[in-house]
């Protein structure tokens, strides 16, 4: 029993962490939190189910297509909902524009796909009960993304450029970095990570349009607690969230688990608005 709580908690935590990383990648490139983060996760599951279960494509092809779909949505987010409002960042119009886009994608999915949760196909034909693929796939995806991002940021030129943009947008532009292309690439990358989260967690979450607001909320919790833009903080906070939620789920039931998560989230945020590890002081006058 304890094993299954730990397994499912860690797996859910990995999915939340991946969505949190999705938020962070978009945030680093644009200083914008996007409501489409959870939507990307949802779309990863739906596209996986569509390509593999419904259209019968090979698993690997379906996987690549799902990620490509996520990348495309990431780019659409940047063009439609982020770029037009970047000029007036202080008016926070991005909250509304990304919300609008997220709702559009979510409603489109509900109508054109299904309003009911649809099954996600089993990807590999291995039968092991204790450590099932529905648990290790998200963990593998999360580990892969974290390692991949570290390598990207530390060892590649484009990774350095991403960091430069995240650190100081103006200085980076003054150095001649192609800010717009880098931002679009970041959003495409975020799209891939988000849809990977949904794809890897497909068996746990199913292909369901309402996963979008759920992931948008639970994926943001690690961002807020781990400090914005901080991927390591996000992974730690994501795993804690997953374990806490599954434990509470088991001990007091699903509803009160949500209430508990929400309450803890609010209390921590009120006590430390900058997150558990972050520190932010900004000059206002």
């Amino acid at each position: 029993m304890v094993t299954s709580i730990i397994l499912s908690g860690t797996a859910m935590g990995c999915i939340y962490a991946l969505i949190a990383v999705t938020y962070n990648v978009m945030f680093s490139a644009s200083r914008v939190f996007s409501f489409t983060a959870g939507t990307l996760g949802m779309i990863g599951g739906v596209l996986g189910s569509l390509f593999i279960a419904r259209m019968g494509l090979p698993v690997f092809v379906g996987f690549l297509l799902a990620l490509a779909g996520g990348a495309l949505l990431g780019i659409v987010t940047e063009i439609v909902a982020v770029r037009p409002v970047l000029k007036s960042l202080d008016q926070h119009l991005y909250v509304l524009s990304t919300l609008a886009l997220a709702l559009m994608i979510q409603q489109f999915t509900a109508i054109e796909w299904s309003t009911e949760p649809q099954p996600f196909p089993r990807l590999f034909d291995i039968a092991r009960v204790e450590f099932d693929q529905q648990y290790w796939l998200p963990m593998l995806a999360c580990a892969g993304v974290i390692v991949g991002l570290e390598l990207l940021y530390r060892h590649t030129l484009i990774g350095h450029a991403f960091l430069a943009i995240a650190e100081d947008n103006y200085a980076a532009r003054a150095l001649g970095l192609p800010e717009r292309q880098l931002r679009m690439t970041s959003f495409a990358l975020a799209g891939v990570i988000g849809s990977l989260a949904g794809f890897a967690g497909g068996e746990m979450l199913l292909a369901f349009f309402a996963n979008a607001p759920m992931l948008t909320f639970y994926g943001f919790v690690p961002v807020a607690l781990g400090g914005m833009g901080n991927n390591r903080g996000a992974v730690v906070a994501g795993l804690l969230l997953g374990l806490f939620q599954q434990t509470a789920n088991f001990l007091v039931g699903g509803i009160f688990a949500s209430v508990a998560v929400f309450t803890v989230f609010i209390i921590v945020l009120l006590a430390r608005p900058e997150g558990l590890v972050g520190s932010a002081l900004q000059r206002r006058v």
Binding site: A81, V85, Q107, S258, F262, L269
Partner: protein, 605 residues
């Protein structure tokens, strides 16, 4: 030319400035009266089904009217307000059905729901005091999800997925049209109440918090108290709407309260436009009715709302309200001049008390390793203009921010007549009659010039929120007083002709004078000016100096942070020169002018 100007003046004179202008007030009320008449007469031509739609629009508006103060006025992105509708619907239904307690009369149940809604409105809203936009939006979203889940799970009370019957209001409101009139009446009352708030110091303070938070604080507006009150009100009316909604549906299950509904409420406000009552009202009607005209589109309605939201945000951020704002389309004169009337300043400031002196005593403050101010002594006396000059980065604005409570000095103290001012209590400074302006003018762009100036006098209002809600006599006296004083302040700085114009249509120099007028509304003992002459023409600077001298002559101590040596040497009684956070020199203009180091380092010799 002359006649044209006179005409413009009479056109621009706001309602009730000096003499009430009933025509303008009537024009504002006209759309509401038209809607009132249509609403009352509706049963004459509406069929049974349209009656349900009309009732629904009324119920939605009861909620949206309150949410409008949160979203449209205070600018808080509360997207999960359906949670309070759910809460109100279940509280009313459960109490009226007697699931837990003996069954209560529906009106009492509705009143209790309002109370519960107010409390939860406050709980959901409070994080807004600490959290920034996206965070707050996410917490309301999370709350909305959880309330539905609780409704689903708490079967013994809410009936779980099976649901509970909604309350039935007794005669004369039990029939379809009877219930319609009940909802319509409440909707009309909500319209009236929120319109009262919108036109009160509370409404102006909310928009100030939204668009110019630091200016709101400097004007003595306490954000926690104000937002808290608004969340209480907004939660209460949302819960009442929930009770009505339950009665209209006649049976409620958790499915009825989807996030789509929340989106509808939220978008109705944005389509309507911020700082408007009429806009969101039309937006609510539009969004309720629209799907009925296009039956095949019903499934797509939320998708269409989202598209509308995107279009509004990207193309017409002002919403319906801005499209209907014809009077601000008229071109302004292009070559208008600011002609202050310093002789009026004494009339405006005549009640300012003698507050003693404002002293800085060995104040020091560093940011990281940078010593922004390093042991600064200064004394600002009433009736004098004190100049604070120095190169960029010498600590001038930081000094001003320490005095007005934005930074806590790490060493030393700021004293008013000997008593140390508590640090970091920004909105308290206004109560001590310390007013300030900002390096970049902090103005509510969507409000009129007059309203912007009235914000400065917020602390002199006596009416409570409830009195303003119901437009009781004290509220009306407050408004008349603030309007009159603000008009006088505008005349003093020479902008009275622009009183009714939207502030974001003005030129930069005019915004600087608006800020001074707003500061004068406090009848300040001390007025702190942060580079008021930046961006002004030579002629405007000359007018500014006569204005500042008049302000000092009326007894106010003026602290002038400036870069223009002419202005400083012309009007200052005393000058402090800063360099790297330390006093380089202090004395009369003549002494400073001949101070060798100052001339070398700063003035150029």
């Amino acid at each position: 030319m002359d006649t044209k100007i006179t005409k413009t003046v009479s056109e621009l004179r706001p309602a009730g400035a000096n003499a009430p202008a009933p025509a303008s007030a009537f024009a504002t009320a006209l759309p509401f009266l038209a809607l009132l008449v249509i609403g009352i007469a509706f049963p004459l031509f509406g069929g049974g089904y349209w009656g349900v739609i009309a009732t629904r629009a009324c119920v939605y508006w009861v909620l949206v009217s309150g949410l409008n103060l949160v979203v449209g006025f205070a600018g808080q992105i509360a997207i999960g307000w359906v949670a309070l509708l759910t809460l109100g619907a279940y509280t009313t239904s459960v109490l009226a059905a007697g699931n837990v307690l003996p069954a209560l009369p529906p009106y009492l149940a509705l009143a209790i729901a309002a109370l519960v809604g107010a409390i939860f409105g406050l709980i959901v809203g409070l994080p807004a005091l600490r959290l920034r936009t996206f965070y707050f939006a996410i917490t309301t979203l999370g709350f909305a999800t959880i309330v539905t889940q609780v409704a689903l799970a708490w079967q013994s009370v809410t009936g779980g997925g099976v649901g509970v019957p909604g309350p039935i209001f007794p005669e004369p409101f039990s029939s379809q049209w009877g219930f319609y009139y009940f909802c319509f009446g409440l909707a009309a009352i909500c319209t009236w109440m929120t319109a009262n708030i919108a036109a009160s110091r509370f409404g102006r303070a909310l928009t100030a918090i939204r668009d110019a938070e630091v200016a709101a604080e400097a004007s003595g507006i306490a954000k926690p108290a104000l937002l808290g009150t608004v969340f209480l009100f907004s939660g209460a009316v949302a819960a009442v709407a929930g009770g009505l909604f339950a009665s209209l549906q006649s049976y409620i299950t958790p499915d009825a309260f989807t996030l789509d509904l929340s989106v509808l409420f939220f978008i109705a406000i944005l389509i309507g436009g911020r700082s408007s009552i009429l806009g969101p009202l039309l937006g609510t009607i539009l969004l309720t009715v629209l799907p009925e005209f296009a039956a095949p589109l019903v499934a797509w309605s939320t998708f269409l709302y989202a598209v509308l939201l995107l279009v509004i945000v990207l193309a017409i951020p002002g919403g319906i309200a801005e499209m209907l704002d014809f009077k601000n389309r008229r071109p302004l004169e292009s070559d208008r001049a600011i002609v202050p009337r310093p002789e009026l300043v004494a009339r405006l400031l005549d009640t300012a008390p003698d507050a003693g002196t404002l002293t800085l005593d060995q104040v020091a403050l560093s940011f990281g390793g940078v010593r922004a101010i390093d042991g600064l002594d200064m004394e600002i006396r009433p009736g004098q203009v004190h100049g604070l000059i120095g190169p960029n980065g010498s600590g001038k604005t930081t000094t001003l921010n320490v005095i007005s409570g934005y930074y806590a000095p790490q060493h030393g103290a700021v004293r008013l007549n000997g008593a140390a001012l508590p640090a970091l209590t920004r909105h308290q400074r206004a109560h001590m009659r310390i007013a300030r302006t900002f390096q970049t003018p902090r103005i509510v762009g969507s409000a009129s010039v007059l309203e912007n100036v009235m914000i400065g006098g917020t602390i002199y209002g006596r009416a409570t929120f409830v009195e303003s809600l119901l437009s009781l006599p004290r509220h009306r006296r407050d408004e008349a007083m603030l309007r009159k004083t603000a008009m006088l302040a505008l005349e003093s700085v020479g902008l009275e002709r622009l009183a009714a114009v939207r502030a974001d249509r003005l030129q930069h120099a005019e915004l600087r004078f608006i800020e001074i007028a707003r500061g004068l509304m406090l009848r300040p003992s001390f007025l702190l000016l942060d580079e008021p002459a930046a961006g002004l023409s030579a002629e405007e600077i000359a007018r500014l100096s006569t204005l500042l001298l008049a302000i000092a002559r009326a007894g106010t101590g003026v602290l002038l942070v400036e870069h223009h040596p002419d202005l400083i040497f012309d009007i200052c009684h005393h000058i402090t020169v800063l360099n790297l956070g330390k006093t380089l020199a202090a004395g009369t203009p003549a002494e400073i002018r001949s101070h060798r180091e100052v001339v070398n380092a700063y003035l150029g010799g």
